[in-house]
Structure formats: structure tokens, C-alpha cells
């Protein structure tokens, strides 16, 4: 991994003609040819489109045209982001073969800056899962140890970068789906403040929680990606009315004088190797001039419960459109209601069905107040607790995942054990805050451990300064 070119290097070299976009792409395609059958990061590799794009960028460089901030940078896209004319499936049988007539805003922004999209990556069906084992098209393997999961739900996007199939990638994070696989694959992964990155063209799971964010091998690359994909989009009503933050500029600023929060009432269950790395991270920041302060988030342990009501409730509504009427799978039956039932029974996997049922139940008359209504209250409570904590600190550090990458099948038989993977990541989504995972050494079996930097809404600049410091300290 040490010899890898970063997105910043590539863009700089391609711009000057020192390196061709085609050469960058071919390197990735060779890696894909060598290992994709083993890793299964992709649902679709768009090699020919990518070659045409790369050739075009090279031609533009030769012609002296400006080629953008991501010139020649290869990007893998989680297969829940719409790509015009290119199959977009959410790793679900119900959408197999569907080609969107439009690009997601993030896709448009990447391509406008010269990025080359290499393919659509595997995910837990409709982003519901923490291991990418829930894909209808088979699991993705962790390139660092193929007996283990890459995390999820953006496991394909994490694996693609970890395996050298693309320079960077995009995932979506509803409860930790970028940060947890980033941690398990040894990458930087960012969940931006809610509303920072447009959701237009992202196939919704939990609309009030979903955010798109980057995977990268360095904090600087993640910052660059953020600068390209963030910023107001009139096509997304929840998009914040502000420009993308300038993050590259703050990375060298250090953490001198910064207050780093340590949660004293943190949910239990993290493995010792992970906790040890977290302690080391606090030490590193202290050494760099920050102070560590104790904070409490009493509602944190309720986050999981609230999340597993709010997200399925929204999902039950978001996924109702997959009804066999207009697009995707249809399994014909004797009448309309039977057609709905046969189509959705055949089209959705078990985890998706489980969450649709959970969500439908939580919103039902007579249960709404006890479940969905109460979950919304917990959501506010969590935001309040964090707001209080952020009076005393600038960022908070936690593990990203309670453990390093686990083995296939370890948690598939027990949904609750799987849900616990996200105990540290979920509160950020409920509060609409920013958070990122930074690789910080290794734990059990030499596998990477991620440290999570939590920041308040719009706290990206502070968060990236801390992340950059941790990266320097490894």
C-alpha cells in the first residue's frame, strides 16, 4: 500500500502530462483483472466507458484544456448512486437491470472535475447491513484478509480502494456505512454533516440519515473529494445553502490548543485491541498540543434502538415504490395485490424485508407513539447531549467499530450482534453531525483499527485537522 499514488498526486501529474489518465486506469483494471474474482468489490466494472473518459482527459491535457481537480483520478461508486444509462441496482434483485435516466449530483460533480468512474460497487442490499453479506449478488471480501468481511454497507467501495481497484471511492452512510468499512479496510472514510453533500440521485434508505461521503487512502485525498462533492444543490431540498468547505488548507494546522472529548460513559463491548489504539490516539493528540477532556453522552446507548426504528420507518416508505408497476422486477400474479406481494417477496432479501416490516410496524396506528414517536424523542435527546458535550470540547474520539474485521458468517445468524457494529457510528447520523474514521495502526491479527473523530454539524474543518494529526502520528 505504501507505493500507492494518491488522488492529489495523480491529478497533479495528469494535469501536467507527466502521467496519463489512461495509465492510471489501466493499472486499476489490471488489479481488477487479478483480484476482482476473489474480492467481488464490484457489481459492474465500466471498463470501456472509463477508457473512453480517460482517453478524453488525456486528449484534453494535450490540447491544453483545463481538466479539473480530479483529472485522471479513478473513482468507484457505491451501486446506490444513479449513473445515467448505467445499471444501478442497490445490490437488489428488485432493481437488477434498471438503468437510471440521470446522474446523481455527486457523479456529475466528480466527472466535471475530471474523475474517471471505474464501476459500481457492491453493498448490503439497499445499504442495509454492516458486512456486505446482505448483497443479492454475493458478499464482498476484505482484500486485507479474504476470510473476513470488509464491513458494510459500503463494503464494495471500501474493498475497491483497499485492493487498488480505484484511487478513491464514494459510499453512503446512514448509520456508519462509510466509517465502519473504512475502519475494517484500513481507509479514511467520511460521513459529512447532513445536508453537506447532495442526496439527489442517491437511492434512499433512511432519507433523514443518509449522506454520501468519500473513501480514500489519505486524509488529504478525502479532503479533496469533499471539496468536489459538497456544496449546495438546488435539486435536494435538504441540501445546506452553503459552498463546499475548504478542507485541504486546514490539514497542516495541527491540533495545538484543541480540546478532544473522551466519552466516559461509552457503550461497552469494544475489544481490548481497539480500546488500546484509542488510548494511543488520545496520547498522540495530547503530544501534539491538544488537551483531552471527559464528556458524557448518557443517551448514546439508546442510539441503536432509536436508529432501528427511524431508519426502518423511513425505509419502509422509501422502498414502497418498488412495486413492480413502473420499473425493475415484476412477478405477475392473478391480481394487483398478489402482484405486489409476489414481486416484493421475490425481489427483496431477508434483511430488507425485516426492516420494511419493522418500519411499517413502528409507523402503524396505535404503535406510532410508542415506537417511532419515542425514537424521534431519543433522537433529539442525543442531539442535545452532544450539543452539551461540544460546549466542553471541539471533537470527540471513539472507536469506529468495536472490533476489527470479523469472519464471514460470524454475525449473520444474529441480527442484533450485527446491529451492534454500528453503536459508535449511529449517533452521528441521528444528530446530523459530521464524523470520520481514520486508520490508526493495527489490532488483532494485524488487521487495521479505525479511530472515529466526531464533530458537531459543520465541524468538518476541525474534524479534518484532528484526522490529519492522527494520520501523521501513526
Amino acid at each position: 500500500m505504501t507505493a500507492r499514488r494518491t488522488a492529489l498526486d495523480i491529478a497533479e501529474s495528469v494535469k501536467t502530462g507527466a502521467l496519463s489518465a489512461t495509465a492510471v486506469l489501466e493499472e486499476n483494471l489490471s488489479a481488477i483483472a487479478a483480484r476482482e474474482s476473489e474480492v467481488h468489490a464490484f457489481n459492474l466494472v465500466t471498463a470501456e466507458r472509463a477508457r473512453a473518459r480517460a482517453a478524453r482527459i488525456d486528449a484534453d491535457v494535450k490540447a491544453g484544456k483545463s481538466v479539473g481537480r480530479l483529472a485522471g483520478v479513478t473513482v468507484a461508486l457505491k451501486d446506490n448512486m444513479c449513473t445515467r444509462g448505467v445499471e444501478t441496482t442497490c445490490s437488489s434483485k428488485i432493481l437488477a437491470g434498471w438503468k437510471p435516466p440521470y446522474d446523481a449530483t455527486v457523479v456529475r460533480r466528480l466527472e466535471e472535475e475530471g474523475a474517471v468512474i471505474v464501476g459500481k460497487t457492491n453493498l448490503d442490499e439497499f445499504a442495509m447491513g454492516s458486512s456486505t453479506e446482505n448483497s443479492a449478488f454475493g458478499p464482498t471480501r476484505n482484500p486485507l484478509d479474504t476470510t473476513r468481511v470488509p464491513g458494510g454497507s459500503s463494503g464494495g467501495s471500501a474493498a475497491a480502494v483497499a485492493a487498488g481497484f480505484s484511487t478513491v471511492s464514494l459510499g453512503s452512510d446512514t448509520g456508519g456505512s462509510i466509517r465502519q468499512p473504512a475502519a475494517l479496510c484500513g481507509l479514511v472514510g467520511v460521513k459529512p454533516t447532513y445536508g453537506m453533500v447532495s442526496r439527489q440521485g442517491l437511492i434512499a434508505f433512511g432519507s433523514s440519515l443518509d449522506q454520501i461521503g468519500p473513501f480514500a487512502t489519505t486524509v488529504a485525498d478525502a479532503a479533496l473529494l469533499m471539496e468536489v462533492i459538497a456544496g449546495h444543490d438546488p435539486l435536494d431540498s435538504t441540501s445546506l445553502p452553503r459552498a463546499a468547505p475548504d478542507l485541504s488548507a486546514v490539514l497542516a494546522q495541527g491540533v495545538e490548543g484543541m480540546r478532544i472529548g473522551r466519552i466516559t460513559d461509552m457503550p461497552e463491548g469494544s475489544s481490548p485491541d481497539v480500546l488500546a489504539r484509542l488510548d494511543t490516539a488520545f496520547d498522540a493528540l495530547r503530544k501534539a498540543g491538544a488537551t483531552v477532556v471527559d464528556v458524557q453522552i448518557p443517551s448514546m446507548s439508546y442510539g441503536l434502538t432509536a436508529y432501528y426504528l427511524v431508519a426502518p420507518a423511513e425505509a419502509s416508505s422509501n422502498l414502497a415504490r418498488f412495486d413492480g408497476v413502473r420499473y425493475g422486477l415484476r412477478v405477475d400474479a392473478k391480481d394487483l395485490n398478489s402482484m405486489y406481494a409476489t414481486t416484493r417477496s421475490a425481489g427483496f432479501g431477508d434483511e430488507v424485508k425485516r426492516r420494511i416490516m419493522l418500519g411499517t410496524y413502528a409507523l402503524s396506528a396505535g404503535y406510532y407513539d410508542a415506537y417511532y414517536g419515542k425514537a424521534l424523542k431519543v433522537r433529539r435527546l442525543i442531539a442535545d447531549d452532544f450539543a452539551k458535550a461540544y460546549q466542553d470540547c471541539d471533537v470527540i474520539l471513539t472507536p469506529t467499530s468495536p472490533t476489527v474485521a470479523f469472519k464471514f458468517g460470524d454475525k449473520t445468524s444474529n441480527p442484533l450482534a450485527m446491529y451492534l457494529c454500528d453503536v459508535f457510528t449511529i449517533p452521528t447520523n441521528l444528530a446530523g453531525h459530521a464524523a470520520m474514521s481514520v486508520p490508526f495502526g493495527t489490532g488483532e491479527a494485524g488487521l487495521p483499527v479505525g479511530v472515529q473523530v466526531l464533530a458537531p454539524a459543520l465541524g468538518e474543518a476541525t474534524m479534518f485537522r484532528v484526522a490529519a494529526e492522527l494520520e501523521r502520528a501513526v
Partner: protein
């Protein structure tokens, strides 16, 4: 019966839910055209079709029209939110309708019916329309038993306002007046074209009966009531059904009914027990809509005069009764400003009202006939330069030609003015020619006047004004 407050001792209690399509260029949440009658599935886009990843963006013009309507209905405009109403149906692309639930845009208004009957408006909220299903084969165009169904998504996402009245209506006549007045207001503020026959205005009627002084009875909701006349018929049918049911020992069950206009009956669509659970929750793809005070006041200030005020003004201007049909019809056509213009250039407003009511039904709110031309005609008639019949002929010609020189037209038709001196000599000739009739008339035999008037008309070759001749004969007889 329709205006009776009590039917066999039972009082009718009616509330109306009226859906109107807003007259916007584009849909509530996307840029597709909001246009009736286009080729099916041409006004569509990813948002309209509920394609994965497509997000709604609220149409500001729709909000303005909804606010205009709310303010015209004396509502309070308030900060509001959107909810999802979840149910499966093929013409509902997302399987949820974006609507407003516990925080609607407009609340607590009222609408005044003739006779100062005030009907409360509970709310007037924004929501999106569904597509339109057509079921081929099978009975009554229902999906059950049909061979196949066709869906047109042109209507999906069209902005609607649902106006919910309080149960303040007590007779079927009031219900019809309510719908009619609401329609006039919609047209006046330009919020909708309010065409019931095209479905841009649709009524659901809630009907119950009770004995005065006792709590309201169980209500039934009647859907598919698509004309003002049907509103009256459906209510009367349903009231009678409920009264007969109770009188024979039965109990009214809360039901949703379907009005069948052809048979003049209601049929059960569903009962409360199998009502849908819509699982309303806050639409996470939209943010709260908080109309600032300045915006609301700007819209309030720009409201045009409303039908009630305009009827009052027209009544004052023309001397016609405020509840007269002429006043109602002309205001509804929006031609009251035109009559004002006729009066402003010196025309006779009272006659102008009659002309406009009778001859301008197919004209736009600003008729093609210049106000000056109609004023000239009204003065000719008022000053007895032409007879009422001649005026009618000239009016028809004005409308046909979109205006013209009335004096020249009258002359060309030989409708030249007959001065009083000439008329008097003709009257004298007629008396001289028939002294017998004159004697009888003077003796109080009024029938004898007919012969004399007829003689004058004959002598004048039809140019004399019958009324003027009669007046002259009366003057002569009493002198």
C-alpha cells in the same frame, strides 16, 4: 326540501372536502408541465415517476397560489410541514402522497354564503395529485374484474389544495352555494380554473343527520361528486337514506361511499374497519415551509376584490338586487369591471348589466366590444332614440362584429330617432282616424288603447317606441 332546515324533524349536518388543482405552469415538486388534456405520459420526469434517487423540490408559485386562496378564505397562513401518506396504488408512483398533516399551510378561515351564513374553513392544505387510472373491461370502470389498466402520470404531482370546511352546512342548497362561492373565489384569485368537468375541482361530501339539540350523528363520506348539481343530489339522497335507516331501527355506520350519478345512488366503497392506515410521518426529503410575514402581507395586499365585494359594488352601480342572477352571473364571468368601464364613459350601468348578462356569455372577462360602444347603445335606448327591440338587434350586431359605431348602425337599419313632435302628430292622426276607440279609452276601457298604439306603430312604419306612444296617450287622456 333542499332549503328546509329540518327533514321529518331531522337536521342535516354537512362538511365538504374540496380538492382543487392549482393553476401553476409546473408540478408541485418538479419541472414537468401541469397541463390538462395532453397526450398521456408526456408531462413526466424522474420525480413524477418516483424513480429511485429523485427528490422533490417545492414549487414556490404553488405555495403562493395556495396562500392567495387561504387569505381569500380568511385563513391564517402559518409555518407548516409536509408528511408522507403511505398507500399502495399503481397511479401513486412513490407509494406515498406528499401532503400536509398536522401543520397545514392555511387554517381557521371562513366563507360567507348569501344571507350572512358563515361556513368555517378548518384548513386548506397543499398536496400532490395522483396519476389517473383507466380500467378497461369489467364493470363500472373499477379495477376489480377489469381486463387491464392504463395509467397516465401527467396528473401525478400536480399541485392540489384540499379545502376542508367545518360541519357548518345545514341544507343541500347551502352546500351547493358553498361550492359555487368557493369556485367563484378560486377563479377571482386565479388559484385554479376550477373546472369540475375536467376534475380540477373535486368534492367529497361528509353527511350526517341528527335531531337538533342532540350530538351529531355518525357521518358518511361521499366521493366522486363531480358537479354542483350532484352535490345537492348526493346530499339529499344520503340524508334520506340515513333518516330512513335510523327510522327503521338501523344504525348509520361510518363508511366511505361512492356517488353514482347515473343511478342517483350512493354505494359503499369501504367501512371504517377496513380503512387504510396511512402511516403518516414527516417527509424527510423536504424542509418546513415558513412563509415570512412580509411575503404573506405582500400576497394579501395583491389580492383582487373578491366576489362578495364585487357583487355588492355591481349592485350599487346598477341598482340591481345583490342576490339577482344578473349580478351573480356577471361577477362570476368577471365582467363587472367592464360594466364599470361602460359607466365611467357615461353609459347607463343598469342597461349595460342587462346587455352583458344576455349577450356576453361567450365573451372573455374583458369583452371585445369597446366599453364606449356599449355605452352609446345604452344611451340610445335610455333616451328613447331606439326601442328595446331595436337595441337588442344592435347589441347582437355589436357582439358579432366585436364593436362598431352604434349611431351609424342604427341609421343604416332605419332606426333613426323619432322626435316627440313627430310622434305627437302621428298620435293625433290615429285618434282622428278612430274616435270611437279614443272615446272608449278615455272612458276607462284600457283594452281600447291597443288599437290606438297599433295604429301609431303602423303610421310610423314601426319606428315609434311603443312605450313612448303609451305615455303620450295617457298624458292626452288625463289632460
Amino acid at each position: 326540501m333542499s332549503t328546509e332546515r329540518l327533514i321529518d324533524g331531522w337536521e342535516l349536518v354537512v362538511g365538504l372536502e374540496v380538492h382543487v388543482e392549482l393553476a401553476t405552469k409546473t408540478k408541485l415538486f418538479s419541472a414537468s408541465a401541469n397541463r390538462f388534456g395532453d397526450e398521456p405520459n408526456t408531462n413526466i420526469d424522474p420525480v413524477t415517476l418516483g424513480l429511485p434517487g429523485a427528490l422533490p423540490v417545492l414549487n414556490r408559485h404553488a405555495v403562493e397560489l395556495a396562500m392567495r386562496l387561504g387569505l381569500a378564505l380568511n385563513c391564517r397562513v402559518q409555518p407548516c410541514t409536509f408528511h408522507r401518506k403511505n398507500y399502495f396504488y399503481p397511479d401513486l408512483p412513490k407509494a406515498y402522497q406528499i401532503s400536509q398533516y398536522d401543520q397545514p399551510l392555511n387554517v381557521d378561515g371562513w366563507l360567507m354564503l348569501p344571507g350572512e351564513v358563515r361556513i368555517g374553513i378548518e384548513r386548506a392544505h397543499l398536496e400532490e395529485d395522483t396519476g389517473k387510472s383507466t380500467h378497461a373491461g369489467g364493470a363500472e370502470g373499477r379495477i376489480q374484474g377489469s381486463d387491464y389498466s392504463l395509467i397516465d402520470f401527467n396528473r401525478a404531482g400536480v399541485p392540489l389544495v384540499e379545502i376542508v370546511s367545518r360541519p357548518d352546512i345545514r341544507t343541500s342548497e347551502q352546500a351547493k352555494q358553498y361550492v359555487s362561492e368557493l369556485r367563484s373565489i378560486l377563479l377571482a384569485v386565479g388559484a385554479s380554473d376550477a373546472k369540475m368537468e375536467e376534475g380540477s375541482m373535486r368534492c367529497d361530501v361528509n353527511v350526517s343527520v341528527h335531531k337538533p339539540g342532540t350530538p351529531f350523528g355518525t357521518r358518511c363520506e361521499i366521493k366522486n361528486v363531480n358537479s354542483i348539481r350532484s352535490v345537492g343530489r348526493a346530499i339529499e339522497y344520503e340524508a334520506r337514506r340515513q333518516i330512513d335507516l335510523i327510522s327503521s331501527g338501523g344504525v348509520v355506520k361510518q363508511q366511505t361511499l361512492h356517488w353514482d350519478d347515473a343511478s342517483g345512488r350512493t354505494n359503499v366503497l369501504r367501512t371504517k374497519e377496513d380503512a387504510d392506515d396511512y402511516r403518516y410521518f414527516l417527509e424527510p426529503d423536504l424542509v418546513p415551509l415558513v412563509p415570512d410575514v412580509a411575503w404573506v402581507e405582500r400576497i394579501r395586499a395583491a389580492l383582487p376584490p373578491l366576489p362578495a365585494a364585487r357583487r355588492l359594488a355591481l349592485s350599487k352601480l346598477t341598482g340591481a338586487a345583490i342576490e339577482s342572477e344578473a349580478v351573480a352571473v356577471v361577477v362570476e364571468r368577471g365582467q363587472d369591471d367592464y360594466i364599470n368601464a361602460v359607466a365611467t364613459v357615461g353609459g347607463d350601468a343598469s342597461r349595460a348589466l342587462v346587455y352583458v348578462q344576455q349577450a356576453f356569455a361567450d365573451e372573455p372577462s374583458t369583452p371585445r366590444v369597446p366599453a364606449g360602444d356599449l355605452a352609446a347603445l345604452s344611451l340610445l335606448e335610455k333616451n328613447a332614440k331606439v326601442t328595446a327591440t331595436q337595441a337588442k338587434t344592435l347589441l347582437a350586431e355589436l357582439v358579432a362584429n366585436g364593436g362598431g359605431d352604434v349611431l351609424a348602425m342604427a341609421k343604416a337599419k332605419g332606426f333613426e330617432a323619432m322626435d316627440s313632435g313627430a310622434l305627437e302628430s302621428l298620435v293625433d292622426q290615429a285618434i282622428a282616424a278612430d274616435p270611437d276607440a279614443w272615446a272608449k279609452y278615455k272612458a276607462g276601457e284600457h283594452k281600447a288603447m291597443g288599437a290606438l298604439v297599433g295604429a301609431v306603430m303602423k303610421l310610423s312604419t314601426g319606428k315609434a317606441d311603443g312605450k313612448a306612444v303609451t305615455a303620450l296617450l295617457q298624458t292626452k287622456a288625463s289632460s
